[in-house]
């Protein structure tokens, strides 16, 4: 059952400072309302994964690892491989994260990232088939939140995309009942590059890339995931309040430009 989250223990004075600054068009970390925190992307840190990427978004840190394994396709899509996205809010990342089964925040995070990749048809699912209806490659995208300083959705979306671009898979084929290695590697076949852009409404102002302090006072958030053509492939509103229709329209338009900037960063970092 989903319950109203407990309010974070933030001093009223601190909340007021954050809100007042945003109302004046400023922010607590001296950014403008429409700018991201510094973004750093490193790929290939985890040698045992097929692909990996770590994204620093300000002080938020998210690591994504790709594992490609052999499995069976879903019965309704015998000619497609399988994509699975999971997110772990690791307890070392925040005093508010606890060990145990995934929280609804973790489920939402993974499902929003999943929707961006799946709906933009980023991964060529057909090319993952080794034997129709029987044997396919299963691509696991595992998102590991290491330090939570706000806007985990954008950090996770960037890490997942960078890790997918970074992935190398050994060439395989099916002989008889066995999957054998043909030798050599290939890249994961990608057709699209979705990037999530998250906005928060603080007081009555829309800001991009909310930090944790801003998330703790925000009314609501909206994530818009944009594909390589500048079209929308996923959206998700969260938070206890809402947006006016005009605020939604403004955010959607702003997302296109922001996504293009971040996509360029990801591609540059992932291709090294």
């Amino acid at each position: 059952m989903s319950a109203t989250p407990q309010l974070p223990p933030v001093a009223k004075l601190e909340q007021k400072t954050v809100i007042d600054l945003v109302a004046k068009g400023k922010r607590i970390d001296e950014r403008g309302p429409e700018s991201y925190r510094p973004i750093q992307i490193q790929v290939g840190l985890i040698e045992k994964a097929n692909g990996s990427a770590q994204v620093h978004l300000g002080k938020s840190k998210v690591l994504a690892g790709i594992k490609v394994q052999i499995g069976t396709p879903f019965p309704d899509t015998p000619d497609e491989g399988v994509l699975t996205v999971n997110a772990e809010l690791v307890p070392l990342a925040s005093p508010s994260f606890e060990a145990g089964p995934p929280s609804e925040a973790a489920i939402e995070l993974s499902r929003v990232v999943d929707r961006g990749i799946r709906e933009s048809k980023a991964l060529d699912m057909k090319s993952l088939v080794l034997q129709k209806g029987k044997t396919v490659q299963v691509v696991y995208v595992d998102i590991y939140v290491l330090d939570h300083d706000g806007n985990l959705i954008d950090a996770a979306s960037m890490a997942a995309l960078a890790a997918l671009v970074n992935s190398k898979v050994s060439k395989m084929e099916v002989k008889g009942d066995e999957v054998i290695n043909k030798g050599g590697h290939h890249q994961l076949p990608l057709n699209n590059y979705p990037v999530a852009v998250t906005f928060a409404k603080v007081d009555r102002t829309i800001i991009v890339d909310p930090s944790l302090e801003e998330e703790q006072v925000m009314n609501a958030r909206l994530t818009v995931t944009i594909d390589k053509n500048g079209d929308i492939c996923a959206m998700q509103k969260g938070g206890l309040y809402g947006f006016t229709p005009d605020e939604v329209r403004k955010a959607v338009h702003m997302a296109v430009g922001k996504a293009a900037e971040n996509r360029a960063r990801i591609m540059a970092a992932a291709k090294g």
């Binding site: 933009s120 079209d231 996923a234 998700q236 938070g239 809402g242």
Partner: protein, 258 residues
């Protein structure tokens, strides 16, 4: 895993006359039936049929928070469970809550939070149970529309009711209130919830592919449909109170006669 044969994919989602598989126009809602107060034990309840969707919602509360540590000192906690019956879909659904149901429980709760005057009932919970008895696309939206009614039926103070409706894209055209097949074989789905008088969008999701102008057009269609649904919600509530009033008047008359 053994699998039943799939229901056949319709050849076309829109026919030559521009009508959809169920005969609707692109901007037409499915037939909707709303009822309130049909459960005996719940503090408030509502039922919605929208196309083949059949959804029952119960509200319990405000009631003492259990376990106690979840209570909040300044407001009521809203809890929400969206759940699908195992027989509500083509292939039996495992009754254990799926990740999808957990996400929907969260977004539905968030869509209703802004209208409930939770600060009137500190340390309590208001529990919403949404049971999808039969699912036919757009069940989260129908669930929100019915949940608002159930809250009102429970007499919980609210600013106004929330109404929700989805818009999608089928065969390149925007279409209101997607059915199951249209959602499955269509190209995009945007569920929207609106608080009409406040002009607040409290649920907005989307998956698929839309250009900015398609989004703009579809979003506007969905907002308009939410207003239509809101008028229907009001009618149902008015009817409930008219019935109560009539019954009371009849009782009074009977007493006078006696």
């Amino acid at each position: 895993m053994n699998k039943l044969p799939e229901p056949k994919q319709p050849e076309k989602l829109i026919d030559d006359k521009g009508l959809r598989i169920d005969g609707r126009r692109l901007d037409e809602l499915r037939p909707i039936k709303l009822e309130v107060g049909l459960l005996d034990k719940a503090d408030g309840s509502a039922y919605i049929e929208q196309g083949k969707n059949k959804i029952l919602v119960a509200v319990y509360g405000p009631r003492e928070a259990h376990p106690k540590h979840i209570a909040m000192p300044e407001r009521a906690v809203i809890r929400c469970r969206y759940h699908m019956a195992p027989f509500s879909v083509d292939e039996r659904k495992n009754p254990a809550p799926s990740r999808r149901e957990m996400e929907l429980s969260k977004v539905i709760r968030e869509s209703l939070e802004p209208v409930v005057l939770t600060d009137l009932y500190p340390r309590t919970t208001i529990d919403l149970f949404i049971e999808v008895l039969q699912s036919d696309g757009g069940s989260r939206c129908a669930g929100i529309t019915a949940a608002s009614l159930a809250l009102a039926d429970a007499g919980i103070p609210m600013k106004e009711m929330v109404a929700a409706c989805a818009v999608g894209k089928i065969e390149g055209k925007l279409a209101l209130d997607l059915s199951d097949a249209e959602d499955k074989y269509g190209e995009a789905d945007i569920p929207v919830a609106l608080v009409p008088n406040a002009g607040l969008v409290t649920l907005l999701q989307m998956d698929g592919h839309l250009t900015l102008s398609e989004f703009e057009q579809g979003f506007t269609m969905a907002l308009e449909a939410c207003k239509t649904l809101n008028a229907m919600q009001r009618e149902v509530l008015k009817k409930k109170y008219a019935t109560i009033k009539e019954a009371a008047e009849e009782r009074e008359e009977a007493e006078v006669v006696a």
